[in-house]
Protein backbone atom coordinates (compact mmCIF):
# COMPACT_ATOMS: atom_id res chain seq x y z
CA UNK A 1 0.00 0.00 0.00
CA UNK A 2 1.53 3.24 -1.08
CA UNK A 3 1.67 6.33 1.04
CA UNK A 4 0.32 9.70 -0.16
CA UNK A 5 3.07 12.27 -0.73
CA UNK A 6 3.47 15.87 -1.87
CA UNK A 7 6.96 15.86 -3.31
CA UNK A 8 9.34 13.24 -4.68
CA UNK A 9 13.11 13.20 -4.17
CA UNK A 10 14.81 10.72 -6.45
CA UNK A 11 18.10 9.89 -4.69
CA UNK A 12 18.68 6.65 -6.54
CA UNK A 13 22.35 6.11 -7.31
CA UNK A 14 23.42 8.60 -4.64
CA UNK A 15 25.88 7.47 -2.02
CA UNK A 16 25.60 8.14 1.69
CA UNK A 17 25.18 10.86 3.04
CA UNK A 18 23.56 12.52 0.01
CA UNK A 19 20.05 10.98 0.23
CA UNK A 20 19.72 12.33 3.76
CA UNK A 21 21.50 15.63 3.10
CA UNK A 22 19.21 16.30 0.13
CA UNK A 23 16.10 15.12 1.98
CA UNK A 24 16.79 17.67 4.73
CA UNK A 25 17.00 20.43 2.13
CA UNK A 26 13.73 19.38 0.47
CA UNK A 27 11.89 19.03 3.80
CA UNK A 28 12.79 22.65 4.53
CA UNK A 29 10.84 23.69 1.43
CA UNK A 30 7.65 21.83 2.43
CA UNK A 31 4.69 23.21 4.38
CA UNK A 32 3.95 21.62 7.78
CA UNK A 33 1.84 18.50 7.24
CA UNK A 34 3.28 17.76 3.80
CA UNK A 35 5.11 14.52 3.01
CA UNK A 36 8.34 13.97 1.06
CA UNK A 37 8.90 10.65 -0.69
CA UNK A 38 12.59 9.72 -0.98
CA UNK A 39 13.76 6.94 -3.30
CA UNK A 40 17.26 5.63 -2.57
CA UNK A 41 19.39 2.69 -3.62
CA UNK A 42 21.71 2.85 -0.62
CA UNK A 43 20.64 0.06 1.74
CA UNK A 44 22.10 1.92 4.70
CA UNK A 45 19.53 4.68 4.20
CA UNK A 46 16.84 2.52 5.85
CA UNK A 47 18.41 2.53 9.31
CA UNK A 48 19.84 6.03 8.86
CA UNK A 49 16.45 7.65 8.07
CA UNK A 50 15.03 5.92 11.16
CA UNK A 51 17.88 7.18 13.37
CA UNK A 52 17.69 10.65 11.89
CA UNK A 53 13.89 10.97 12.27
CA UNK A 54 14.21 10.15 15.98
CA UNK A 55 16.47 13.13 16.69
CA UNK A 56 15.48 15.67 14.03
CA UNK A 57 13.02 18.38 15.02
CA UNK A 58 9.70 18.81 13.20
CA UNK A 59 10.12 15.60 11.20
CA UNK A 60 8.29 12.29 11.31
CA UNK A 61 9.11 9.13 9.37
CA UNK A 62 5.61 8.03 8.36
CA UNK A 63 6.56 5.01 6.28
CA UNK A 64 9.31 2.94 4.69
CA UNK A 65 9.13 0.27 2.02
CA UNK A 66 11.45 -1.68 -0.24
CA UNK A 67 10.62 -1.98 -3.92
CA UNK A 68 12.33 -4.38 -6.27
CA UNK A 69 12.96 -2.99 -9.73
CA UNK A 70 15.03 -4.76 -12.38
CA UNK A 71 16.77 -6.93 -9.79
CA UNK A 72 17.89 -3.95 -7.69
CA UNK A 73 16.29 -2.82 -4.46
CA UNK A 74 14.93 0.69 -4.10
CA UNK A 75 14.48 1.87 -0.52
CA UNK A 76 11.60 4.30 -0.15
CA UNK A 77 11.17 6.66 2.80
CA UNK A 78 8.16 8.90 3.51
CA UNK A 79 9.09 11.85 5.68
CA UNK A 80 6.49 14.33 7.01
CA UNK A 81 7.23 17.88 8.04
CA UNK A 82 5.34 18.24 11.34
CA UNK A 83 5.85 21.91 12.11
Amino acid sequence: MSQVFDKLLDARGQNCPMPLVNARKEIGKLEPGQVLKVMATDRGSVADFQGWAKIAKNVELVGQETESAEGANVYVHYVKRTA
Binding site: N15, C16, P17, L20, V21, R24, K25, D42, R43, G44, A47, D48, G51, W52, I55, A56, K57, N73
Partner: protein, 410 residues
Protein backbone atom coordinates in the same frame (compact mmCIF):
# COMPACT_ATOMS: atom_id res chain seq x y z
CA UNK B 1 46.78 -0.20 -3.13
CA UNK B 2 48.83 2.51 -1.47
CA UNK B 3 47.42 5.17 0.77
CA UNK B 4 47.06 8.64 -0.73
CA UNK B 5 50.39 10.46 -0.54
CA UNK B 6 49.16 13.00 1.99
CA UNK B 7 48.03 10.24 4.38
CA UNK B 8 44.38 11.29 4.25
CA UNK B 9 43.10 8.01 2.82
CA UNK B 10 43.84 4.64 4.40
CA UNK B 11 42.97 1.47 2.56
CA UNK B 12 41.88 -1.63 4.49
CA UNK B 13 45.39 -2.98 3.90
CA UNK B 14 47.00 0.15 5.41
CA UNK B 15 44.63 -0.15 8.35
CA UNK B 16 45.60 -3.78 9.00
CA UNK B 17 49.31 -2.87 9.04
CA UNK B 18 48.67 -0.07 11.51
CA UNK B 19 46.62 -2.33 13.76
CA UNK B 20 49.26 -5.05 13.64
CA UNK B 21 51.99 -2.55 14.47
CA UNK B 22 49.99 -1.13 17.38
CA UNK B 23 50.01 2.37 15.90
CA UNK B 24 48.08 4.92 17.91
CA UNK B 25 45.05 6.51 16.33
CA UNK B 26 41.52 7.45 17.32
CA UNK B 27 38.36 6.43 15.49
CA UNK B 28 35.43 8.76 14.84
CA UNK B 29 32.77 6.33 13.63
CA UNK B 30 29.78 8.08 12.00
CA UNK B 31 27.58 5.03 11.29
CA UNK B 32 24.33 4.54 13.17
CA UNK B 33 24.52 3.07 16.67
CA UNK B 34 23.39 -0.46 15.77
CA UNK B 35 26.04 -0.82 13.09
CA UNK B 36 28.69 0.53 15.47
CA UNK B 37 27.69 -1.88 18.25
CA UNK B 38 27.62 -4.87 15.95
CA UNK B 39 30.90 -4.35 14.12
CA UNK B 40 33.70 -2.20 15.48
CA UNK B 41 37.30 -1.76 14.50
CA UNK B 42 39.51 -3.90 16.71
CA UNK B 43 43.26 -4.29 16.76
CA UNK B 44 45.75 -6.07 18.95
CA UNK B 45 44.54 -3.64 21.57
CA UNK B 46 41.16 -1.92 21.74
CA UNK B 47 41.09 1.02 19.36
CA UNK B 48 39.82 4.14 21.15
CA UNK B 49 36.67 5.31 19.39
CA UNK B 50 33.54 7.37 19.65
CA UNK B 51 30.36 6.95 17.67
CA UNK B 52 28.59 10.07 16.42
CA UNK B 53 26.17 9.15 13.60
CA UNK B 54 26.54 11.53 10.65
CA UNK B 55 22.87 12.46 10.81
CA UNK B 56 23.39 13.63 14.39
CA UNK B 57 26.17 15.89 13.10
CA UNK B 58 23.81 17.26 10.46
CA UNK B 59 21.25 18.15 13.13
CA UNK B 60 23.78 19.32 15.70
CA UNK B 61 25.70 21.41 13.17
CA UNK B 62 22.47 22.58 11.59
CA UNK B 63 24.13 23.26 8.24
CA UNK B 64 22.88 22.09 4.88
CA UNK B 65 26.14 20.53 3.69
CA UNK B 66 27.94 17.65 5.40
CA UNK B 67 31.41 19.21 5.75
CA UNK B 68 29.97 22.45 7.17
CA UNK B 69 27.95 20.42 9.67
CA UNK B 70 31.05 18.48 10.74
CA UNK B 71 32.91 21.75 11.38
CA UNK B 72 29.95 23.24 13.25
CA UNK B 73 29.57 20.07 15.37
CA UNK B 74 33.25 20.15 16.29
CA UNK B 75 32.90 23.75 17.41
CA UNK B 76 29.81 22.90 19.45
CA UNK B 77 31.44 20.38 21.74
CA UNK B 78 32.44 17.39 19.63
CA UNK B 79 36.05 18.62 19.57
CA UNK B 80 36.30 18.09 23.33
CA UNK B 81 35.83 14.34 22.81
CA UNK B 82 38.70 14.07 20.32
CA UNK B 83 42.37 13.74 21.27
CA UNK B 84 44.81 16.19 19.71
CA UNK B 85 47.90 13.96 20.00
CA UNK B 86 47.02 11.20 17.53
CA UNK B 87 45.47 10.91 14.06
CA UNK B 88 41.67 10.75 13.84
CA UNK B 89 40.39 8.07 11.46
CA UNK B 90 36.90 8.85 10.15
CA UNK B 91 34.94 5.65 9.55
CA UNK B 92 31.53 5.06 7.98
CA UNK B 93 29.70 2.22 6.24
CA UNK B 94 31.12 2.54 2.74
CA UNK B 95 33.71 5.31 2.86
CA UNK B 96 31.79 8.19 1.28
CA UNK B 97 30.50 10.05 4.34
CA UNK B 98 33.80 9.60 6.19
CA UNK B 99 35.52 11.52 3.38
CA UNK B 100 33.39 14.59 4.27
CA UNK B 101 34.10 14.06 7.97
CA UNK B 102 37.84 13.89 7.28
CA UNK B 103 37.60 17.15 5.32
CA UNK B 104 35.76 18.82 8.20
CA UNK B 105 38.38 17.63 10.68
CA UNK B 106 41.18 18.86 8.41
CA UNK B 107 39.53 22.26 8.13
CA UNK B 108 40.02 22.63 11.89
CA UNK B 109 43.59 21.38 11.79
CA UNK B 110 43.19 17.76 12.87
CA UNK B 111 45.54 15.13 11.48
CA UNK B 112 42.72 13.13 9.98
CA UNK B 113 42.22 10.28 7.54
CA UNK B 114 39.28 8.41 6.03
CA UNK B 115 38.95 4.64 5.74
CA UNK B 116 38.56 3.96 2.03
CA UNK B 117 35.51 1.83 1.32
CA UNK B 118 34.45 2.08 4.97
CA UNK B 119 33.65 -0.87 7.20
CA UNK B 120 32.40 -2.77 4.16
CA UNK B 121 35.90 -2.75 2.65
CA UNK B 122 37.46 -3.61 6.01
CA UNK B 123 35.01 -6.49 6.49
CA UNK B 124 35.88 -7.85 3.04
CA UNK B 125 39.63 -7.36 3.27
CA UNK B 126 41.77 -10.48 2.95
CA UNK B 127 45.35 -11.08 4.06
CA UNK B 128 47.53 -13.98 2.97
CA UNK B 129 50.51 -15.09 5.10
CA UNK B 130 52.85 -18.04 4.56
CA UNK B 131 53.00 -20.52 7.44
CA UNK B 132 55.68 -22.43 5.57
CA UNK B 133 56.98 -21.98 2.04
CA UNK B 134 59.59 -24.40 0.77
CA UNK B 135 59.95 -26.08 -2.62
CA UNK B 136 58.54 -29.23 -1.01
CA UNK B 137 55.56 -27.79 0.86
CA UNK B 138 53.76 -24.47 1.19
CA UNK B 139 50.92 -23.58 3.51
CA UNK B 140 49.29 -20.17 3.06
CA UNK B 141 46.96 -18.84 5.72
CA UNK B 142 44.28 -16.71 4.06
CA UNK B 143 42.36 -14.60 6.55
CA UNK B 144 39.59 -12.06 6.78
CA UNK B 145 41.07 -10.02 9.63
CA UNK B 146 37.91 -8.07 10.47
CA UNK B 147 35.86 -11.24 10.81
CA UNK B 148 38.47 -13.49 12.42
CA UNK B 149 38.04 -16.17 9.75
CA UNK B 150 40.97 -18.34 8.62
CA UNK B 151 41.39 -20.59 5.62
CA UNK B 152 44.31 -22.46 4.08
CA UNK B 153 45.96 -23.29 0.80
CA UNK B 154 48.21 -26.34 1.11
CA UNK B 155 50.50 -26.74 -1.89
CA UNK B 156 53.11 -29.21 -3.08
CA UNK B 157 54.52 -29.94 -6.55
CA UNK B 158 52.18 -27.48 -8.24
CA UNK B 159 49.03 -29.00 -6.72
CA UNK B 160 46.91 -27.31 -4.09
CA UNK B 161 44.21 -28.25 -1.61
CA UNK B 162 42.08 -25.42 -0.24
CA UNK B 163 40.63 -25.84 3.26
CA UNK B 164 37.63 -23.74 4.38
CA UNK B 165 37.71 -21.15 1.59
CA UNK B 166 35.85 -17.96 2.53
CA UNK B 167 33.12 -16.30 0.48
CA UNK B 168 35.26 -14.25 -1.91
CA UNK B 169 37.28 -16.36 -4.31
CA UNK B 170 39.88 -13.84 -5.50
CA UNK B 171 42.49 -14.57 -2.76
CA UNK B 172 42.62 -18.26 -3.75
CA UNK B 173 42.52 -17.67 -7.49
CA UNK B 174 45.23 -14.99 -7.19
CA UNK B 175 47.43 -17.29 -5.12
CA UNK B 176 46.97 -20.17 -7.55
CA UNK B 177 47.92 -17.89 -10.44
CA UNK B 178 50.97 -16.24 -8.85
CA UNK B 179 52.33 -19.53 -7.46
CA UNK B 180 51.36 -21.58 -10.55
CA UNK B 181 49.17 -23.97 -8.58
CA UNK B 182 46.37 -26.22 -9.77
CA UNK B 183 43.61 -26.44 -7.16
CA UNK B 184 42.66 -30.12 -7.14
CA UNK B 185 40.59 -30.38 -3.98
CA UNK B 186 38.43 -28.00 -1.97
CA UNK B 187 37.09 -28.96 1.43
CA UNK B 188 35.17 -27.56 4.34
CA UNK B 189 36.08 -28.81 7.80
CA UNK B 190 32.38 -28.40 8.64
CA UNK B 191 29.16 -26.64 7.68
CA UNK B 192 29.95 -23.11 8.81
CA UNK B 193 27.51 -20.96 10.77
CA UNK B 194 29.36 -17.65 10.92
CA UNK B 195 30.31 -17.16 7.28
CA UNK B 196 29.27 -18.21 3.83
CA UNK B 197 31.62 -20.85 2.45
CA UNK B 198 33.38 -20.23 -0.82
CA UNK B 199 33.86 -24.00 -1.20
CA UNK B 200 31.20 -25.00 -3.71
CA UNK B 201 31.83 -21.88 -5.85
CA UNK B 202 35.61 -22.32 -5.81
CA UNK B 203 35.27 -25.99 -6.77
CA UNK B 204 32.92 -25.12 -9.62
CA UNK B 205 35.24 -22.37 -10.84
CA UNK B 206 38.40 -24.50 -10.78
CA UNK B 207 36.95 -27.89 -11.63
CA UNK B 208 38.18 -29.25 -8.29
CA UNK B 209 36.21 -31.71 -6.19
CA UNK B 210 34.37 -30.28 -3.17
CA UNK B 211 34.32 -32.33 0.03
CA UNK B 212 32.18 -32.08 3.16
CA UNK B 213 31.33 -34.56 5.89
CA UNK B 214 27.79 -35.83 5.15
CA UNK B 215 26.60 -35.18 8.72
CA UNK B 216 27.01 -31.48 8.00
CA UNK B 217 25.03 -31.72 4.81
CA UNK B 218 21.87 -31.81 6.91
CA UNK B 219 20.78 -28.48 8.39
CA UNK B 220 20.64 -29.20 12.14
CA UNK B 221 17.59 -27.05 12.86
CA UNK B 222 15.59 -27.45 9.66
CA UNK B 223 16.61 -31.14 9.41
CA UNK B 224 16.67 -30.78 5.65
CA UNK B 225 19.34 -32.19 3.32
CA UNK B 226 21.78 -29.96 1.46
CA UNK B 227 21.12 -29.26 -2.19
CA UNK B 228 24.78 -28.41 -2.96
CA UNK B 229 26.84 -30.96 -4.78
CA UNK B 230 29.61 -32.48 -2.64
CA UNK B 231 31.73 -35.57 -2.10
CA UNK B 232 31.61 -37.36 1.26
CA UNK B 233 34.49 -37.01 3.70
CA UNK B 234 35.07 -40.09 5.89
CA UNK B 235 37.05 -40.47 9.10
CA UNK B 236 40.53 -41.72 8.21
CA UNK B 237 40.26 -40.71 4.56
CA UNK B 238 43.47 -39.31 3.07
CA UNK B 239 43.89 -36.58 0.47
CA UNK B 240 47.13 -36.25 -1.42
CA UNK B 241 48.76 -32.89 -2.13
CA UNK B 242 51.83 -33.41 -4.29
CA UNK B 243 54.32 -35.26 -2.11
CA UNK B 244 52.20 -34.92 1.03
CA UNK B 245 49.07 -36.37 2.48
CA UNK B 246 46.29 -34.93 4.61
CA UNK B 247 44.61 -37.44 6.94
CA UNK B 248 41.06 -36.86 8.16
CA UNK B 249 40.02 -37.03 11.81
CA UNK B 250 36.29 -36.88 12.51
CA UNK B 251 35.93 -34.73 15.64
CA UNK B 252 32.20 -34.01 16.18
CA UNK B 253 31.22 -31.39 18.74
CA UNK B 254 31.04 -27.93 17.23
CA UNK B 255 29.08 -29.64 14.45
CA UNK B 256 28.30 -33.34 13.99
CA UNK B 257 30.36 -33.53 10.81
CA UNK B 258 33.40 -31.53 11.93
CA UNK B 259 36.73 -32.90 10.73
CA UNK B 260 40.36 -31.95 11.26
CA UNK B 261 43.13 -32.60 8.76
CA UNK B 262 46.55 -33.79 9.83
CA UNK B 263 49.68 -33.40 7.75
CA UNK B 264 52.03 -35.94 9.36
CA UNK B 265 53.33 -34.86 12.74
CA UNK B 266 53.83 -31.32 11.46
CA UNK B 267 50.50 -29.55 10.93
CA UNK B 268 46.97 -29.96 12.22
CA UNK B 269 44.13 -28.03 10.56
CA UNK B 270 41.70 -27.96 13.46
CA UNK B 271 38.72 -26.16 11.89
CA UNK B 272 36.39 -25.09 14.68
CA UNK B 273 37.73 -27.20 17.54
CA UNK B 274 40.95 -25.79 18.98
CA UNK B 275 41.65 -22.10 18.34
CA UNK B 276 44.66 -20.18 19.71
CA UNK B 277 43.22 -18.64 22.85
CA UNK B 278 40.06 -20.66 23.21
CA UNK B 279 38.01 -23.52 21.82
CA UNK B 280 34.85 -23.74 19.72
CA UNK B 281 31.35 -23.52 21.16
CA UNK B 282 29.11 -26.63 20.90
CA UNK B 283 25.71 -24.93 20.64
CA UNK B 284 25.45 -23.48 17.13
CA UNK B 285 23.43 -26.46 15.95
CA UNK B 286 20.90 -25.79 18.71
CA UNK B 287 21.75 -29.07 20.52
CA UNK B 288 24.31 -27.97 23.10
CA UNK B 289 23.39 -30.57 25.75
CA UNK B 290 23.80 -33.45 23.32
CA UNK B 291 26.84 -32.12 21.47
CA UNK B 292 28.93 -30.82 24.39
CA UNK B 293 30.01 -34.33 25.56
CA UNK B 294 31.00 -35.21 21.96
CA UNK B 295 33.01 -32.00 21.78
CA UNK B 296 34.88 -32.90 24.98
CA UNK B 297 35.74 -36.40 23.71
CA UNK B 298 36.90 -35.07 20.33
CA UNK B 299 39.14 -32.48 22.00
CA UNK B 300 40.69 -35.20 24.18
CA UNK B 301 41.43 -37.16 21.02
CA UNK B 302 43.27 -34.14 19.58
CA UNK B 303 45.18 -33.63 22.85
CA UNK B 304 46.71 -37.07 22.33
CA UNK B 305 48.45 -36.03 19.11
CA UNK B 306 52.20 -35.26 19.12
CA UNK B 307 52.80 -32.08 21.13
CA UNK B 308 55.07 -30.54 18.52
CA UNK B 309 52.35 -30.47 15.88
CA UNK B 310 51.42 -26.95 14.73
CA UNK B 311 47.76 -26.09 15.21
CA UNK B 312 46.24 -24.09 12.35
CA UNK B 313 42.76 -23.01 13.49
CA UNK B 314 39.61 -21.91 11.65
CA UNK B 315 39.18 -18.69 13.61
CA UNK B 316 40.68 -16.11 15.90
CA UNK B 317 38.92 -13.72 18.24
CA UNK B 318 41.57 -11.00 18.43
CA UNK B 319 44.43 -9.85 16.21
CA UNK B 320 46.52 -10.13 19.36
CA UNK B 321 46.48 -13.93 18.96
CA UNK B 322 48.78 -13.57 15.94
CA UNK B 323 52.54 -13.89 16.10
CA UNK B 324 54.76 -10.97 15.05
CA UNK B 325 54.37 -12.04 11.41
CA UNK B 326 50.59 -11.77 11.67
CA UNK B 327 50.10 -15.56 11.56
CA UNK B 328 47.70 -17.55 13.71
CA UNK B 329 49.55 -20.76 14.57
CA UNK B 330 51.00 -22.42 17.67
CA UNK B 331 52.24 -25.83 18.77
CA UNK B 332 49.82 -28.12 20.58
CA UNK B 333 52.16 -28.24 23.61
CA UNK B 334 52.15 -24.46 23.76
CA UNK B 335 48.35 -24.34 23.56
CA UNK B 336 48.00 -26.92 26.35
CA UNK B 337 49.52 -24.28 28.59
CA UNK B 338 47.76 -21.12 27.37
CA UNK B 339 44.51 -22.03 25.62
CA UNK B 340 41.67 -21.47 28.11
CA UNK B 341 39.61 -24.40 26.85
CA UNK B 342 42.52 -26.85 26.79
CA UNK B 343 43.58 -25.80 30.27
CA UNK B 344 40.07 -26.60 31.50
CA UNK B 345 40.03 -29.87 29.54
CA UNK B 346 43.17 -31.06 31.32
CA UNK B 347 41.93 -29.88 34.70
CA UNK B 348 38.32 -31.10 34.65
CA UNK B 349 36.55 -34.48 34.66
CA UNK B 350 34.45 -35.35 31.62
CA UNK B 351 31.31 -34.04 33.34
CA UNK B 352 33.09 -31.02 34.74
CA UNK B 353 34.27 -30.08 31.27
CA UNK B 354 30.76 -30.41 29.84
CA UNK B 355 29.56 -28.10 32.61
CA UNK B 356 32.30 -25.62 31.70
CA UNK B 357 31.27 -25.73 28.04
CA UNK B 358 27.60 -25.13 28.83
CA UNK B 359 28.42 -22.33 31.27
CA UNK B 360 30.61 -20.52 28.72
CA UNK B 361 28.23 -20.15 25.79
CA UNK B 362 28.22 -16.68 24.24
CA UNK B 363 25.00 -15.12 22.96
CA UNK B 364 23.42 -17.05 20.10
CA UNK B 365 23.59 -15.16 16.79
CA UNK B 366 20.24 -15.51 14.95
CA UNK B 367 21.86 -14.95 11.53
CA UNK B 368 23.87 -18.15 11.98
CA UNK B 369 20.81 -20.33 11.36
CA UNK B 370 20.32 -18.68 7.97
CA UNK B 371 24.05 -18.83 7.10
CA UNK B 372 23.95 -22.61 7.67
CA UNK B 373 21.02 -22.72 5.22
CA UNK B 374 23.03 -20.78 2.63
CA UNK B 375 25.97 -23.16 3.05
CA UNK B 376 23.69 -26.14 2.51
CA UNK B 377 22.24 -24.57 -0.63
CA UNK B 378 18.82 -24.20 1.03
CA UNK B 379 18.88 -20.43 0.58
CA UNK B 380 20.59 -18.19 -2.00
CA UNK B 381 20.82 -14.57 -0.82
CA UNK B 382 21.66 -11.64 -3.11
CA UNK B 383 25.09 -10.04 -2.60
CA UNK B 384 23.70 -7.30 -0.34
CA UNK B 385 21.97 -9.81 1.91
CA UNK B 386 24.97 -12.15 1.94
CA UNK B 387 27.18 -9.28 3.09
CA UNK B 388 24.66 -8.30 5.76
CA UNK B 389 24.53 -11.90 7.08
CA UNK B 390 28.31 -11.85 7.49
CA UNK B 391 28.54 -8.50 9.29
CA UNK B 392 30.93 -8.34 12.23
CA UNK B 393 33.35 -10.65 13.92
CA UNK B 394 32.67 -14.37 14.23
CA UNK B 395 31.37 -15.68 17.55
CA UNK B 396 32.36 -19.33 17.14
CA UNK B 397 34.50 -19.58 20.28
CA UNK B 398 33.44 -19.97 23.89
CA UNK B 399 33.32 -16.79 25.87
CA UNK B 400 36.52 -16.32 27.81
CA UNK B 401 35.08 -14.67 30.90
CA UNK B 402 34.75 -18.06 32.60
CA UNK B 403 38.43 -18.83 33.17
CA UNK B 404 39.30 -15.19 33.75
CA UNK B 405 36.65 -14.86 36.43
CA UNK B 406 37.72 -18.07 38.15
CA UNK B 407 34.50 -19.82 37.11
CA UNK B 408 34.05 -23.51 37.68
CA UNK B 409 34.25 -23.23 41.45
CA UNK B 410 31.46 -25.18 43.10
Amino acid sequence: MKERGDGTVWTAGNLLERLEHREKFFVLDVRNRDEFERFRLEGRRPVPAINVPYFEMLELGGKEEMVDSVVASLKQGLAEQLPKDMPILAVCAKGDTSEFVMQGLRRLGYASATLQGGMKAWGEHYATRAIVETPDLAIHQVSRPARGCLSYVVASEGKAVVIDPLRHLHPYLDLARTKSLTITTVMDTHGHADHISGGPALAAKTGAAYYLHPYDAIHPMDVLPATISYEYIRDGQTFSVGRHELATLHIPGHTLGLVAFRLGDRYLFTGDSIFIRSIARPDLGGKADAWAPLHGRSLRKLLGLPGGITVLPGHFSSLDEADEMGRFAASLDDLKKRNDGLVMLQRESENGFVRYLLDSLPKFIPEYVEIKRVNAGLSAPAEDDAAALETGKNVCALSQAYVASGGGQE
